[in-house]
């Protein structure tokens, strides 16, 4: 993919740096530091310019950009900028999750019980999966799929970075989970390939990054949270807590979304990604919550608080994504205004 279009001064300057070299570096640095210093609490989650800038930097560590030299991934200018932008992002995630983390910690049980109680009791945001099952129009479903493509087309990849940071049973079970995400070694069955099929069946572009310019701030922030957690060793507990909450809020919603895809006429091939996740994630939630997070906390490698921070961050960001989508649908009464009809 090519670098996305800029969404503000920060991403504009970053684009320029990655494409042209360093002459505006001082301005970029000052802009980033100024933004980070003056950012009101929580607003980092909502700031398209900041989230897109972080997303571009993280993407250098995944698939890169056709128009950017891969050496920028480890350039000190980029690493420094990443650290400056991560600080308000991580703080906003902590601020948005503290009350949930505290309530989950008060649950009498082990960390798996706490993760499941948190996932079951979390009540922010509208229930997108019920709306898709019952009411969404085909255009709204396609809008939803475009936003989800930002993560699902690289599904599971962030967590693979965590494998070498774990040991023993937690590592074995993370590999077991990832192996399933990657289709059990069968090409064509990788979960991100199943999602590509869903996109094609919905007459959408399955090219990696095709809809990045449409991605809203919460969608970028959700992807960035996984990169933040999974690319920092110190946040490995949050990375696995995020994974556990993601898996624990998947089977039942995926069943509803599969039904919504069939109801709106996209067909069984389109629904297969969601259908597969009904059973897969009923396994994965147990692996992640009990055998990965449970082991990590029991052995003292990470704390329950680390895990629950990541779990709550997953749920908060998912709620922000759902809220943003529903708000756009209410505003416009349609979802594909920016896109030519088929």
């Amino acid at each position: 993919m090519l670098l996305p279009r800029a969404r503000g001064p920060l991403s504009g300057l970053l684009r320029h740096l990655l494409l042209e070299g360093t002459e505006e570096l001082a301005e970029l640095d000052a802009t980033a530091r100024g933004r980070a210093a003056t950012m009101p609490a929580l607003s980092a989650l909502d700031d398209e310019d900041l989230q897109l800038s972080l997303w571009m930097i993280y993407e250098l560590s995944f698939r890169g950009f056709d128009d950017v030299d891969d050496r920028w991934e480890s350039a000190p200018e980029v690493a420094g900028l990443r650290a400056v932008l991560e600080r308000p992002f991580e703080q906003a995630l902590r601020d948005a999750t503290t009350s949930w983390t505290e309530r989950a910690l008060a649950v009498d049980g082990d960390v798996a019980d706490q993760v499941f109680a948190l996932a079951a009791g979390f009540d922010e945001g509208p229930d997108l999966s019920k709306f898709i099952r019952k009411e969404a129009t085909p255009d709204q479903v396609r809008h939803f799929l475009r936003q989800r493509s930002v993560y699902h087309l690289k599904e599971a990849d962030p967590h693979t970075f965590v494998i070498p940071r774990l040991t023993g049973p937690a590592k074995a079970h993370l590999v077991e989970l990832q192996y399933d995400e990657y289709g059990g070694g069968r090409s064509g069955f990788l979960h991100h390939e199943l999602f590509a099929t869903t996109l094609r069946q919905a007459a959408l572009d399955d090219t990696w990054g095709a809809y990045i310019d449409d991605a809203d701030a919460p969608t970028l922030a959700s992807s960035n949270a996984m990169s933040l957690f999974c690319l920092h060793r110190r946040l490995r507990g949050a990375a696995m807590g995020h994974l556990a909450a993601f898996e624990a809020t998947s089977s039942i919603p995926c069943r509803r979304i599969a039904a919504g895809l069939l109801r709106t006429g996209f067909g069984e091939d389109a629904a297969r990604y969601y259908d597969e996740h009904v059973e897969a994630d009923a396994v994965h939630e147990q692996l992640a919550a009990r055998e990965i997070c449970g082991t990590l906390v029991r052995t003292g490698d990470v704390t329950a608080r680390d895990v629950l921070f990541g779990a709550a961050a997953c749920l908060v960001l998912d709620a922000l994504q759902a809220t943003a989508l529903m708000a756009q649908w209410e505003d416009t009464g349609a979802s594909d205004l920016a896109e030519a009809p088929l």
Binding site: S99, R103, A104, A106, V107, D108, G109, D113, Q114, F116, A117, L118, A120, G121, E176, Y179, D180, G184, R186, S250, S251, I252, R255, V278, E279, A280, D281, A282, V283, E285, Q286, L287, R290, E291
Partner: protein, 81 residues
């Protein structure tokens, strides 16, 4: 059944309030599922123990909907009665 170094060929993990996870060197899962109905392709499977799944014999997460005796819940918010 164990292999030559004493590792069980089949491991069963009972998840409180949820399914039984089964890891197996032998295709024990294929034996109990009618052929063609559902193929156990994943490295570990979850067998429903609550009887409410819509994907028998596999767990589909439905056990979480009704709570149940072992389900833990969040304490109420401080600002709630």
């Amino acid at each position: 059944m164990t292999d030559s170094i004493g590792t069980p060929a089949t491991e069963v993990v009972l998840c409180p309030g949820g399914p039984a996870l089964i890891r197996s060197d032998v295709a024990v899962v294929d034996v109990i599922v009618a052929e063609g109905q559902s193929v156990a392709r994943r490295p570990v499977v979850a067998l429903c123990r609550c009887g409410r799944t819509g994907r028998a014999p596999w767990c589909d997460g439905t056990h979480k909907l009704a709570g149940g005796p072992t389900a833990k819940t969040l304490p109420t918010r401080k600002d709630e009665p």
